[in-house]
């Protein structure tokens, strides 16, 4: 019997929440199929299964938070008969389509504070059959964020009219359906916060049903005397947030804590060394301009894609920067999968991998880069993208600072930084001119490589960027 476990989607991940199942008992699955959506502190991630078979049993209900490694589902081999033949009444779940820049659900998700996973439910792929909003078994089509909010508020999704694609319930629909919160005096609100009382559960005895301080104190006394004991083994539920903006603050805070733990660990454990150099990108930019001039906007390539590809190719020459330091040794990675640092709007950072960047042509790299950035910001990153990065590349684009010396993400051993493209005086062949120049940096783990090899790597990138037509 195969097992599908809660994956580790980052070096700092300890627990994850199973937000949504994309399969049901009896569904056949193939290696690489997306079977669930998991919420980490940073984002909602679509998770793949790495065995083929048939889903036998889903062990963890949606909305449960479990430690990494917990068995979430059991799979049986495809040829084995199911223990009980359950009639499959629900229409098949459509295969997720790659998110496109312009393809948003008809009711756009409401603006949310950055750091929250915006619903990752996307319009169904063209090949998918039309799906009724409430199938026979009562499973309602809803985005993960809508589900989460409805669960927290105790609202039955089936009672909500969905305005998302194909009648799906999106978060805005749940918010609209929520009863208005009772009026609460500021003193009562503060008291509720201190005593950890959920205001929604407090009966208000003030004017017009308003909740007073006495009401809160009464509720706290009642709760403390009841003293419920949770059965052992039940997953702990997070304290209910008071409102949507509190939820946003919680998630933002949680993400910042996760990042803080990761960078602190990195600086504590990894002996970093730093190298930097300046690269004349005049040839690269001229080539790019000429190439982009004949292409429609959707096919234009940004300098960032060139730099990513050059970095990936250079790693073939210096493989000791591409891999992991684990258990006291460097293990080179099988492929070159640079993690692309994507800054989340308003704060926070994820670095999903662009797989096999060295083997893809420039157009493909650019297309995938667009997709990664989009999905990093709006949801829909996949498990493999979160866990496979063999090195990180951070590109501060053309509005950032001149250079960046990054912090290595363990267990990786290097991070490459590209700064802003700036016009600088440049000497070549005894003459001085002005060229567009970018500062290229490397922060690397001194246990896995040394300055000489690091320098070779940066030189290689520099050379590759002088021959952009070969990238």
């Amino acid at each position: 019997m195969g097992e599908f476990r809660m994956p580790s989607l980052g070096a700092d991940m300890v627990t994850g929440t199973l937000v949504e199942w994309r399969v049901h008992p009896g569904d056949p699955v193939h290696r690489g199929d997306i079977v669930a959506v998991v919420d980490t502190d940073k984002a909602a991630i679509e998770v793949e299964v790495w065995e083929s078979g048939v889903v036998d049993e889903l062990l963890v209900p949606e909305g449960t938070r479990v430690p990494v490694g917990t068995v979430l589902a059991r799979l049986r081999p495809a040829d084995e008969a199911a223990p009980v033949a359950a009639p499959v009444l629900e229409p098949p779940v459509p295969a997720p389509a790659p998110a496109e820049a312009g393809a948003l659900p008809s009711a756009a998700p409401p603006p949310q504070a950055p750091g929250i996973s915006v619903p990752i439910f996307r319009p169904a792929a063209k090949a998918a059959p039309p799906v009724a909003p409430t199938p026979a078994t009562g499973r309602v089509r809803a985005s993960p964020a809508a589900r989460r909010l409805a669960a927290e508020r105790g609202i039955d999704l089936g009672t909500i009219h969905g305005t998302g694609a194909e009648g799906a319930v999106v978060r805005a629909d749940v918010e609209r359906a929520m009863p208005h919160p009772p009026r609460v005096s500021p003193v009562a609100a503060r008291m509720a916060e201190l005593l950890e009382i959920d205001l929604r559960t407090v009966a208000g005895t003030g004017a017009g049903g308003a909740v007073t301080r006495a009401d809160v104190e009464r509720a706290a006394a009642a709760r403390d005397s009841a003293a419920p004991s949770a059965p052992s083994g039940a997953p702990a539920s997070p304290p209910p947030p008071l409102d949507a903006s509190a939820l946003a603050r919680d998630r933002n805070a949680a993400m910042r804590q996760a990042i803080a733990a990761a960078v602190a660990r990195s600086k504590r454990e990894i002996p970093h060394y730093y190298l930097w150099t300046h690269v004349d990108v005049s040839r690269a930019l001229r080539w790019l301009e000429a190439r982009n001039a004949d292409r429609p906007m959707e096919e234009r390539i940004l300098p960032a894609a060139l730099m990513l590809k050059a970095t990936a190719l250079a790693l073939r020459a210096v493989p000791e920067l591409n891999g992991f330091w684990t258990e006291g040794a460097f293990r080179p990675a099988d492929g070159i999968h640079p993690g692309v640092a994507v800054f989340l709007r308003g704060g926070g950072l994820v670095a999903p991998a662009l797989l096999d960047a060295d083997r893809k042509d420039l157009d493909t790299v650019m297309g995938e880069l667009r997709g990664l950035v989009q999905r990093a910001r709006t949801g829909g990153l996949r498990g493999a993208e979160m866990t496979s990065a063999t090195i990180t590349v951070t590109n501060l684009g053309d509005r950032g600072v001149e250079g960046v010396l990054g912090v290595i993400y363990p267990p990786q051993v290097a991070i490459v930084g590209f700064g802003k493209i700036v016009e600088r005086p440049w000497a070549e062949d005894g003459m001085v001119g002005v060229r567009p120049v970018v500062e290229l940096t490397l922060a690397a783990d001194h246990r896995a490589s040394d300055g000489h090899r690091g320098s070779l790597f940066l030189e290689k990138i520099t050379d590759l960027l002088q021959k952009p037509e070969e990238l």
């Binding site: 603006p111 982009n292 880069l369 667009r370």
Partner: protein, 84 residues
């Protein structure tokens, strides 16, 4: 398309890319990229959207004409008259 309609379309495209920036927060004479914190990818996405919405190709050389909301409105009004 009238000037207010064009501006509304630009702000709508911007909203898809920078949802947390309110339309009323944008100073029409100031840099869009700075106000909405757009990096080069965001800006390319914005330009692509505008091109699609207005049915025109926008060459890279014209990017400086899209620096502010005012500039966008003037550029799009001139370049896409069939939408008037």
């Amino acid at each position: 398309m009238t000037d207010p309609e064009i501006r509304a379309a630009v702000l709508n495209a911007l909203h898809q890319i920078a949802p947390e920036v309110g339309a009323d927060e944008i100073d029409p004479a100031a840099s869009l990229r700075e106000q909405a914190d757009l990096d080069s990818m965001d800006f390319l996405n914005l330009v692509t959207r505008l091109g699609r919405d207005f049915g025109i190709q926008i060459p890279e050389a014209d990017y400086p004409h899209l620096a502010t909301l005012d500039a966008c409105a003037a550029y799009l009004a001139a370049r896409a008259p069939q939408h008037a």
